[in-house]
């Protein structure tokens, strides 16, 4: 069959971008205060930690997988790091130790998935719970660990070049580096090949198991960065965040931006588009003063609509589109 004209124009990414633009215009016209430059910055600010986590999740999902331990790693590694600092460890010792812990968890995730053949969803669910339980019970003393006075994280939190918070730069930088990695390095291309057809990738000599390790280690370190960033802006790390809906918001950003859970497609553009849509929505809903419960409901509805539109506009192939999976 000839190359489709339809799917080029209406990819999910564009639908979401159009939706975000529509929301943006509507909010700018109808909501008081939305257009303030301060508010616009706060929109991006509010999604930059989420977006950063979504960068790691996207790298995992594009290569066919999922990392449900991301939020646990983010909260617990940052909390442990702060605890070590509060216990009087030096900066480098604390960072090195927490970093080693994060590396270990990333490797365990990758090992379970690549070498022990455990489905990613179970492996990371289990390691996430383990990390939370172990760190909370053995390594830290309370739910929320404060940032010690005078620490670099405190200074980072107060550092606002051009009036823009540091999270925005870090999110942008992470997207750019991940973009370069995925698009221009051999290993980045391996991620796409694996996500598209794992068996074919393996048979033709792509080192799929080391690549699995690499992806989950990258995801774990991005989670650590997101944790430190959260701590710097809130001046503490509250580990209760593990039990929030943050994890689902990450997946929401990735999927709504158009990165299919089946792998092999999408990129950093999709993460940015997804994050911006969620940011605008949350901001608008907060200005209108919609209760949190309903915010979640609305987000869920939009996610469903995006997925349905995607599968209608971009069927996997003609046969399944016509007859479903018979």
């Amino acid at each position: 069959m000839a190359a489709g004209t339809a799917h080029g124009v209406w990819s999910q990414e564009r639908i979401v971008l159009a939706l975000a633009a529509l929301l943006f215009v509507a909010a700018a016209i109808f909501l008081p205060g939305f257009r303030d430059i301060g508010n616009l910055i706060s929109i991006v600010h509010s999604v930059s930690v989420l977006g950063l986590l979504a960068v790691g999740m996207a790298i995992v999902i594009i290569g066919r997988g999922i990392d449900l331990s991301a939020v646990a790693i983010m909260a617990m590694s940052a909390a442990w790091y702060l605890q070590l600092l509060n216990d009087g460890w030096s900066e480098w010792q604390a960072l090195g130790t927490a970093g080693a812990g994060v590396l270990a968890i990333g490797l365990v995730n990758g090992f379970l998935i690549a070498y022990a053949d455990v489905p990613a969803i179970f492996a990371t669910l289990a390691t996430g719970s383990f990390v939370f339980g172990f760190v909370r019970s053995r390594l830290i003393t309370q739910d929320a660990i404060p940032v010690p006075a005078g620490n670099w994280l405190e200074q980072l939190g107060g550092f606002h070049p051009l009036g823009i918070p540091p999270e925005v730069f870090i999110f942008g930088g992470a997207c750019f580096i991940a973009y370069l990695f995925l698009r221009f390095t051999k290993w980045g291309r391996y991620v796409y090949y694996m996500g598209d057809n794992l068996l074919a990738a393996r048979n033709m000599g792509i080192p799929v198991r080391p690549m699995n390790l690499l992806r989950y280690v990258i995801s774990a370190f991005i989670a650590l960065a997101a944790g430190l960033l959260t701590a710097s802006s809130l001046h503490s790390m509250n580990t209760r965040i593990v039990n929030s809906t943050l994890l689902y918001d990450i997946i929401l950003v990735v999927v709504i931006g158009g990165i299919g859970l089946s792998g092999g497609k999408g990129g950093m553009r999709n993460v940015i588009v997804g994050a911006i849509l969620i940011g605008i929505m949350q901001n608008a809903m907060t200005i209108i003063d919609i209760p949190n419960l309903y915010q979640n409901l609305i987000k869920a509805t939009i996610l469903l609509i995006a997925i349905v539109i995607d599968s209608l506009v971009n069927p996997r192939d003609e046969q399944t589109a016509q007859q479903g999976d018979i």
Partner: protein, 499 residues
């Protein structure tokens, strides 16, 4: 004879591109009607319209004189039109019997009852399938049988077979055609799509040939011969017919250096003490029935499967003993396996032709650097598209949008772009149209002429006999006989494969 199905001016377009154009097709009561054509000619689309799987863009269809338009396959089935798919549509986790009776379970569904009924039913069809086995454990051939049994069970008066024999062994094919004759005798009308021209010529009453979505010719099978069919399919006479050439002693290639030696290799019950050697500069044909361990043996050679740890035998490649745990090492050493199942483990379907070709050098570490160069990618893609004559609008077309023959060329190209010393083709022309078969064969011959060690695994005897410089026959997990193609006959090879 009266017509069961009449299609008039049937057209189906995908995104504006017609797959079937103004086709008038008539199926008579109790006839076996073969549908021939290259891949992408519109055979599948036409029959899917008939079976309610896809909706026609325009045109009308009469079933027993009534105007019908089926919205889904279920509706068609209720009207007595069943389609047996190429890619099976069974529920893998259920048993054979449950699959046959799928959708008509009673409120109290007693398994014992349906097992007994299924047993008798399968026996009446002469199919040796265990009704209590779960479908996931069955091989391709047996799944096909279950699929056929299901259609027969639904008492369809029109049954459409989409390449029913592609995965069957010769023995099973005989059973299948006997069954087809019995169905026909009981008044069932049959449409069957096939790539094997001999099957159409010897088992069909009438033959219709499609090309580029249009009906080129319909007529009694007796009025056709191979050449006429091929001419109608490809729109030209093929120069140097593919399978009518007999290998003569002088044009066999001499064996070069021994590159692979396999001694007593074993893997479970699939491969047992298998020993043979492969040489450079010639084509070694491997023939064996389904379950003879031929694919498994070469998957061990290329590191996809692991041989037994204890008493697994020895493999020497390029003068060095090897034991590959993962395909990476085999590929880096220069062994490339071109799969028999390109959809499952061959190409990357969401990606462009260029990216598929480029995956080869990228995986084998043959690119200029670890930084991806899109210029290099275009270069490689253009080079291989040209060498293999891949027909596509451009290199950015996605591989799923290509015909089977062109997909196969892409899979071959991305393997050869890894610059192998030994290349293993597993069923290189399965599901590939006649024109592309000739091109792929020419290409394989050229590789051997250039001095490469080439292995061709095939269950199609004429292919093995015409392509090979030596023929190894596999049975029960090992190579049992070596036959020279000069003295080989189909009977001789088959005899070695089954006894």
């Amino acid at each position: 004879m009266q017509p069961v199905i009449e299609m008039r001016k049937m057209t189906k377009a995908y995104r504006g591109v017609p797959a079937v154009k103004d086709v008038d097709f008539t199926l008579m009561k109790g006839e076996v009607h073969a549908l021939l054509g290259e891949n992408g000619a519109g055979k599948s689309t036409l029959t899917k319209i008939m079976a309610g799987v896809v909706e026609a863009t325009s045109g009308e269809m009469l079933h027993n004189g009534q105007r019908v338009a089926f919205a889904n396959p279920h509706e068609a089935l209720q009207n007595g039109i069943a389609m047996v798919f190429q890619e099976t549509s069974l529920v893998p986790s259920m048993t054979v019997a449950q699959n046959i009776y799928l959708g008509e379970e009673k409120f109290l569904n007693r398994l014992r009852g349906i097992y007994i009924a299924a047993q008798q039913f399968l026996q009446s069809l002469n199919f040796s399938v265990d009704p209590t086995a779960s479908v996931a454990t069955l091989g391709a051939a047996k799944r096909q049988m279950v699929e056929i049994a299901r259609a027969v069970h639904h008492k369809a008066d029109v049954i459409i077979f989409d390449e029913p024999t592609a995965t069957l062994t010769p023995e099973e094919k005989r059973h299948f055609f006997a069954l087809m004759r019995r169905l026909k005798a009981s008044g069932v009308s049959i449409v069957f799509i096939t790539h094997a021209l001999e099957e159409a010529l010897s088992h069909a009453d009438r033959i219709s040939i499609l090309r580029d979505g249009e009906l080129i010719e319909t007529g009694l099978a007796a009025e056709f011969d191979r050449n006429k069919v091929v001419r109608a399919m490809v729109g030209r006479a093929l120069t140097g017919e593919i399978y009518n050439r007999r290998r003569q002693a002088p044009d066999l290639r001499r064996r070069g250096r021994q590159i692979l030696s396999v001694r007593d290799v074993s893997m479970g019950s699939m491969v047992r003490n298998n020993s043979f050697s492969i040489f450079e500069g010639q084509i070694t044909g491997i023939f064996g029935l389904v379950g003879s361990g031929r694919t498994e043996t070469f998957k061990i050679v290329s590191g996809i499967y692991k041989r037994d740890f204890l008493r697994g035998g020895e493999i020497e490649f390029d003068g060095r003993p090897v034991r590959y745990n993962v395909p990476v090492h085999a590929v880096r050493d220069g062994i490339v396996y071109v799969t028999e199942d390109r959809k499952l483990e061959g190409f990357f379907e969401t990606m462009s032709i260029a990216e598929n070709f480029y995956s080869g050098p990228l995986a084998a570490d043959l690119t200029r650097s670890s930084v991806v160069s899109f210029a290099e990618m275009r270069e490689i893609a253009a080079d291989w598209s040209k060498r293999l004559d891949v027909k596509a609008i451009n290199d950015n077309a996605r591989v799923v949008e290509l015909s089977g023959g062109n997909q196969q060329k892409v899979v071959i190209g991305k393997g050869l772009a890894q610059r192998p010393k030994l290349v293993i083709f597993d069923e290189p022309t399965r599901g590939v149209d006649v024109g592309a078969i000739a091109e792929i064969h020419r290409f394989i011959n050229q590789l051997a002429d250039e001095g490469l060690a080439v292995v061709v695994i095939s269950s199609y005897l004429p292919e093995v006999m015409n392509l090979s410089d030596r023929i190894l026959v596999c049975r029960q997990g090992r190579v049992v006989e070596e036959i020279s193609p000069v003295e080989a006959t189909e009977e001789k090879i088959m005899f070695a494969a089954v006894h």
